[in-house]
Symmetry: C2
Subunit: 243 residues, 2 copies
Amino acid sequence: VRHRLCVGVLGGMGPEATADFYAKLVAETPSARDQDHLRVLIDGDPSVPDRSAGIEGSGESPGPHLARMARGLVAMGAELLVMPCNSAHAFEAEIRGAIGAVPFLSLIDATVAATLEAVPGVRRVGLLATDGTLRARVYADGFAAAEIEALAPDAADQRTVMEAIYDVKRGRGRARPRSALVAVAGRLAAAGAEAVIAACTEVPLVLASGDVVVDGRTVPVISSTDALVARTIAAAMSDSDTD
Amino acid sequence: VRHRLCVGVLGGMGPEATADFYAKLVAETPSARDQDHLRVLIDGDPSVPDRSAGIEGSGESPGPHLARMARGLVAMGAELLVMPCNSAHAFEAEIRGAIGAVPFLSLIDATVAATLEAVPGVRRVGLLATDGTLRARVYADGFAAAEIEALAPDAADQRTVMEAIYDVKRGRGRARPRSALVAVAGRLAAAGAEAVIAACTEVPLVLASGDVVVDGRTVPVISSTDALVARTIAAAMSDSDTD
């Protein structure tokens, strides 16, 4: 029997995005019965300090808290860690430093790879992300390594993106954040983005492929959540250890 | 600041029902930002031995496995345990025995209480449940204590219910299991059930209030998942300890 890795999830950032990740992980896992599914341990901890404030230096760093969560999940039996929150990847080094040889699958790497698969030869993408994710340059650097330019919205549009993300977190309905994000995504596409990256796990809760159409052309929306789901299943199922 | 209890979830039975429980718990928690949510630890372990087989004595008992999961969640910091799987409540005593003074909120008790709230004065309900749940009599006894008669489907209809539940677990679409469950629920109502109990956490994934109409009368469907969500939030938020 092939051993399948137990997946540990650093969650709660936000809670709805974590629930969305888990539901998609279950839906996408090939299965005919309960026992075919992966074991998933989730620490849905909404008390992690605010990521954007930590990145900007205006608030407590979430790094030590994330390192503790990671160690706790490994102690519970997790053999592979993931974190469905883009901003928190600014603190990825602290997480990796806390868990020794246990693999941590980067949401950023998964999303860059999914973009290259969805839009072969892509040269320029647009980012829908938090201020913290942009400031930490996790996507700018990740895409640059693949020779892809990552466009951020202008300052006014970025404020709109942040408002939309916090609207989603407040659970105040989908229509307003969706139309705000569609408008910003359209301007990124008009500026040359061949794909729009839903680079915050709240964004795919309201924005999907097909929502962004510019001059009759549908602009692909790459969901960071979907990218991490696919990579997680592949990594957990393809482990070469046997038991 | 009022201390809110960290919720531990014995999950994976099945995984989709656990994801549904978590999503509803997040959606129903009063919140304006991530930090207002409850901390939720989930052990989504689909390798728990089959509950119906364990109850019937034809397979390994899941009791010791569930007791280990419960102890692990408490070790991780859980202060209140719940289990969104009705059949597994046949092994509730083994779980309680493993966790000392940590409270375990019964899904059965939550569902009986929710039924009394939704249909005041109710005398007779119909059960949509697994063979194992029926055989273990968890609902028959729970409702009898409230002087409510719990009707089970006849043998042919019960086979239909089991097929529908396993169709949901196999993820083969909603239409077939929904129409099967609607038909059985209609016959339970025709036999005198004033409400139908979705007494398996796969059932509310396809059957909702409004789906069952008999002689022009809408028969309430009581979701065991929703009942547990409401009780969990109330119990976790109302703890009298302060910190």
